[in-house]
């Protein structure tokens, strides 16, 4: 069992950045790196939204408000650990080494090539399905007696899918080294969490599959880190899976195609703006004298420049080659597909 109980929302930092529990043992440079990633996620998301509005980007799922969960869950991982997640967790993927440029390419509607050593499966669109892949990777790790763990990450809505539940059950039965993290951001498009399941907490699902469940303040990066780190240690030690529910909030629209005003009370948004994870960590860092105003401005500027460079690179890329798609259906192209490719090549005048 975990040292952190399920019956309350675990917190380390209050919304004003004051400590309410022991902070994790994280060196200042790691704390600052975490903060920078959170800032990076926010700016990346804002920039993607802006690009989409200008017709320079495809559909994007903003991650604003959820930076603490993404960063907190990626932070405890070792280089050979894995993350298997959905479209909303791209910030965690970037921390694993998937280039922001690649993420942007995929959102723009191109093939994105992740570095294999990032150990991230392509972000998932079909809700919940990736949780079984996470368990499968973990079963592979266990079979090979490797010391690694897998984080399977999904949203609150995805927990209603059969696959989510099957994943928990397989993980429990096989004691797979996997940690399930549910990014409960309050909404699944227009469906509030309260109507997604009648359970008190999503973490209550854990007992039914024989594993511990924990609820953590998903806007408190230190709390997320501590809970996930403990669950990861447990999995690494061969003690099996854990279900972590990170309670956070989607500050923006579901995607750039969505208008939350149609279904979401304004007051709720206001409440959560007050719990924004980035000012919270900033207040803590400033309080601990790990950051000052000038450094913060500098950090923000650095992130902005980095993202601008990424966008410039993205927009200078040659357009996606349609013929490339034919190469990735099978390792060896079947004859019918080859002749379909040849026909298209002729059609495109590229013989």
């Amino acid at each position: 069992m975990l040292s952190i109980a399920v019956d309350r929302v675990y917190q380390v930092l209050a919304p004003d950045g004051k400590l309410v529990d022991t902070p994790p043992d994280l060196a200042p440079d790691r704390l600052l790196a975490a903060y920078r990633w959170m800032v990076f996620g926010r700016q990346f998301s804002d920039r993607m939204i802006a690009l989409q509005r200008q017709g320079r980007m495809g559909t994007f799922a903003p991650l604003n408000g959820q930076e603490a969960t993404a960063v907190g869950l990626a932070l405890p991982l070792a280089p050979d650990d894995w993350i298997v997640a959905s479209y909303r967790e791209v910030l965690a993927y970037m921390m694993r080494g998937v280039l922001p440029l690649t993420i942007a390419q995929v959102h723009r509607g191109e093939v994105g090539i992740y570095p294999r050593q990032a150990n991230c499966l392509p972000y998932q669109i079909v809700l919940g399905t990736q949780m079984l892949h996470a368990v499968g990777v973990a079963m592979g790790i266990k079979y090979e007696r490797k010391p690694n763990v897998v984080l399977g990450v999904c949203g609150d809505g995805a927990t209603s899918e059969g696959d989510f539940n099957e994943a928990l059950n397989f993980a429990g039965v096989f004691k797979a080294p996997v940690v399930f993290v549910v990014q409960n951001n309050g909404w699944a498009i227009s469906m509030p969490r309260s109507r997604q399941t009648a359970a008190h907490a999503i973490a209550d699902r854990a007992a039914g599959f024989g594993m511990p469940g924990v609820v953590v303040d998903g806007n408190d990066v230190l709390a997320v880190y501590k809970v996930v780190a403990e669950a990861v240690a447990r999995a690494r030690a061969g003690e099996g899976p854990t279900l972590v529910e990170a309670q956070t909030y989607r500050l923006g629209a579901h995607t750039t195609a969505d208008d939350p005003k149609k279904y979401r009370p304004e007051e709720e948004l206001a409440e959560w703006v007050a719990r924004d994870p980035i000012p919270r960590l900033r207040a803590y860092l400033i309080g601990q004298s790990l950051l000052n105003q000038a450094e913060d401005t500098h950090l923000h500027d650095g992130v902005r420049a980095e993202i601008q460079t990424m966008v410039d690179t993205l927009e200078a890329l040659p357009p996606q080659d349609p013929l490339v798609l034919f190469d990735n259906v099978f390792e060896t192209m079947p004859p019918a597909l080859a002749s379909q490719r040849d026909a298209l090549r002729r059609d495109l005048g590229r013989e």
Partner: protein, 326 residues
């Protein structure tokens, strides 16, 4: 007469069905307050109440499975799968349950269920949203598959689908949702399921299509008629299963040449069945091989390049020309 987009025509059909029959319930993901991700069910919950129009938990098998139960109980569920590609999650509930309960029970229980789902390429959606899934369901027995090509048809076919005592998969091409308007009578009318529509008469070659490909076929037909002087007949299948074999036979028997167009991959697609029907019913009239214009045998292409793959008028016209070669 109002001029409606397909979204408006479907919305109107749904609201008339709700008003007409208290057994009709509409549910799915985000169909309630949000009015559907394409606004198809906009305002229906406000008008008919949360008992008639409601959101479900996010689970496609759950949506179809509970709908099967409701239908067997005696209601007339109209369930939405947010994108047809996600119907794969519900495949078992559709295939082994919805489509089989009449058979399994010897006719004691029936499943008068409509499953609506958007699909189709050309609108740059993320993965799995655009997939054309009709061929999987065509091979399934016990379910009908309807794909309207116009707002007018969408309304008439949807009324017929809700009327139908058996399960109907109603696939709505996203590109058609708002691409054009059409005169659509406000009053309820029914277009019978299982009947194709000759949307353009011609004598030299038949183009068989459905959904968004009907417009592509018509554009190609116009181009051919203008440029090549050949007369092109275009058939909109409207219902993929059961297939209107008689309409295919009548046309190809007359023209002796045929092109079949779909967005789905070629292997094992609807085009193959259409060719098999031509083979069986009018091979001796056939002057040239039937041409298939389809997406290649690979997963649906990614957004930036999808237009390169989706059949377009030029490619259909080229295929027509091949059938017209001496």
């Amino acid at each position: 007469m109002p001029r409606w987009t397909m979204v408006e025509a479907i919305h109107n059909a749904l609201s008339q069905e709700l008003a007409r029959d208290p057994r009709v319930l509409i549910f799915g993901e985000d169909v309630g307050k949000n009015g559907g991700v394409f606004r198809v069910t906009d305002g229906l919950q406000a008008r008919f109440g949360e008992e008639r129009v409601f959101d479900t938990p996010l689970a496609e098998s759950g949506i179809v499975g509970t709908a099967v139960g409701m239908a067997a109980y005696g209601l007339r569920p109209v369930a939405e799968i947010q994108f047809a590609g996600f119907s794969f999650i519900a495949f078992n509930q559709i295939a082994s349950q919805a489509a089989r309960l009449r058979y399994r029970s010897g006719g004691v229980y029936t499943v008068p269920l409509v499953i609506r789902a958007p699909f189709g390429g050309g609108v740059r959606t993320p993965e799995m949203h655009s997939d054309s899934v009709e061929a999987y369901y065509m091979h399934l027995q016990g379910i009908k598959v309807v794909i309207p090509a116009t707002p007018y048809d969408a309304k008439g076919l949807l009324h017929a689908a809700v009327d139908d005592p058996d399960p109907v998969l109603f696939l709505e091409h996203m590109k058609l949702y708002r691409s054009f308007r059409q005169d659509v009578p406000e009053e309820r009318y029914v277009i019978p399921l299982g009947q194709a529509n000759v949307v353009r008469e011609g004598t030299d070659v038949t183009v068989i299509a459905y959904g968004a490909m009907v417009g592509v076929a018509l554009a190609a037909a116009a181009e051919i008629e203008k440029g090549d002087g050949a007369s092109v007949e275009v058939i909109d299948l409207r219902t993929i299963a059961p297939l209107d074999e008689a309409a295919i036979e009548a046309s190809v028997g007359k023209t002796g040449r045929a092109v079949v167009v779909h967005e789905a991959a070629r292997a094992g697609g609807v085009g193959a069945e259409v060719i098999a029907v031509i083979n069986e019913r009018c091979l001796y009239s056939l002057l040239k091989p039937v041409e298939r214009v389809t997406c290649p045998d690979m997963p649906f292409p990614i957004p930036t390049v999808e237009d390169v793959f989706i059949p377009n008028p030029a490619r259909v016209a080229a295929a027509i020309r091949r059938t017209l070669e001496p």
